[in-house]
């Protein structure tokens, strides 16, 4: 009998048995999360959605590519698939456009500086997307996906030390590129 809230590994086994409902459940459960990840790489909604769709269809077409015996969690393994697809498709979507929609997560009423912040955010998105692949991946996985250094290092197939160094370099680079929007204040 199927468990009430099946875990990913159970769903994957069901998909391997040819259960389409299990595939639908898995897609509904994870598509948004992987879209968010893909968007950080592509900064284009359509491109990000295409990447997620391609990744899931690859899995559906050949579900046995995920091997539970290797002891890797589905989500970790699928992160790697999506990251690789994003990097592979970078050329296809090379003309990175500045994102049209940005939401300011502050609750403050609109102020004059909001326009500047919005501009800074657009620039930041483009700068993150233009970082070298490994630095970008390290930053996205650790900062935006909230992964531990160990998890991110596993996905990128590097040591934890190497990952920390990548993170540091990414932040330094962003600080340099964003210097017009950052200034030292003494509060």
């Amino acid at each position: 009998m199927a468990p009430e809230s099946p875990d990913d590994e159970y769903l994957l086994l069901q998909i391997q048995e040819g259960d389409n409902t299990a595939f639908a459940t898995l897609v509904k459960k994870h598509s948004t999360k992987y879209y968010n990840l893909a968007f950080r790489y592509m900064i284009n909604r359509e491109a990000a959605e295409d990447i997620v769709q391609t990744a899931f269809l690859k899995l559906f077409e050949n579900p046995s590519i995920w091997n539970p015996k290797k002891g890797v969690k589905f989500t970790t393994w699928f992160y790697r698939i999506v990251v690789n697809l994003c990097l592979d498709n970078k050329k296809k979507y090379k003309e990175i456009q500045l994102p049209e929609i940005f939401e300011i997560s502050d609750d403050r009423p609109h102020q004059e500086e909001d326009a500047l912040t919005l501009e800074a955010q657009s620039l930041l998105a483009a700068e993150i997307a233009s970082l070298p692949d490994r630095q970008k991946s390290a930053l996205i996985l650790c900062f935006y996906e909230g992964m531990s250094h160990k998890e991110a290092a596993e996905i990128l197939a590097v040591s934890v030390k190497a990952l920390q160094s990548l993170l540091m370099r990414a932040k330094e680079r962003l600080k340099t590129r964003m210097k017009d929007y950052l200034w030292d204040t003494h509060e």
Partner: protein, 105 residues
């Protein structure tokens, strides 16, 4: 606030536009047009899962298979011809077959 904190704040404010509400449905619909590929070894494994044999059966089956193999490999030693309804082995091939054992003795 120093530059590190400012950068972090800016990074925190960078939100991703909402995903299309139909993305999951689109993927599920697209999957209906995709033919699933199955690994041949998985398929064989699944077929044989249905026919699980107890261990002694494996031993007997293996012995039988070895028996057949040895039988077929030694078949050429005896030259059998069909005369009428009878299968007759030539004297020469019988002596040759027996002789191999005698030379050992």
């Amino acid at each position: 606030m120093n530059k590190d904190k400012q950068l972090e704040r800016l990074m925190n404010m960078y939100n991703v536009p909402l995903v299309s509400a139909s993305l999951a449905d689109r993927i599920i619909l697209a999957a209906t047009h995709v033919r699933q590929r199955q690994n041949i070894w998985d398929w064989i494994g699944r077929v044989f899962e249905e026919f699980k044999l107890p261990l002694p059966c494996y031993s007997l089956t293996s012995l039988l298979a070895i028996g057949f193999l040895v039988g077929f490999l030694t078949y050429d030693y005896v030259d059998i011809t069909i005369i009428g309804d009878a299968y007759v082995a030539s004297d020469e091939s019988i002596y040759q077959f027996m002789g191999e054992d005698e030379t050992l003795l």
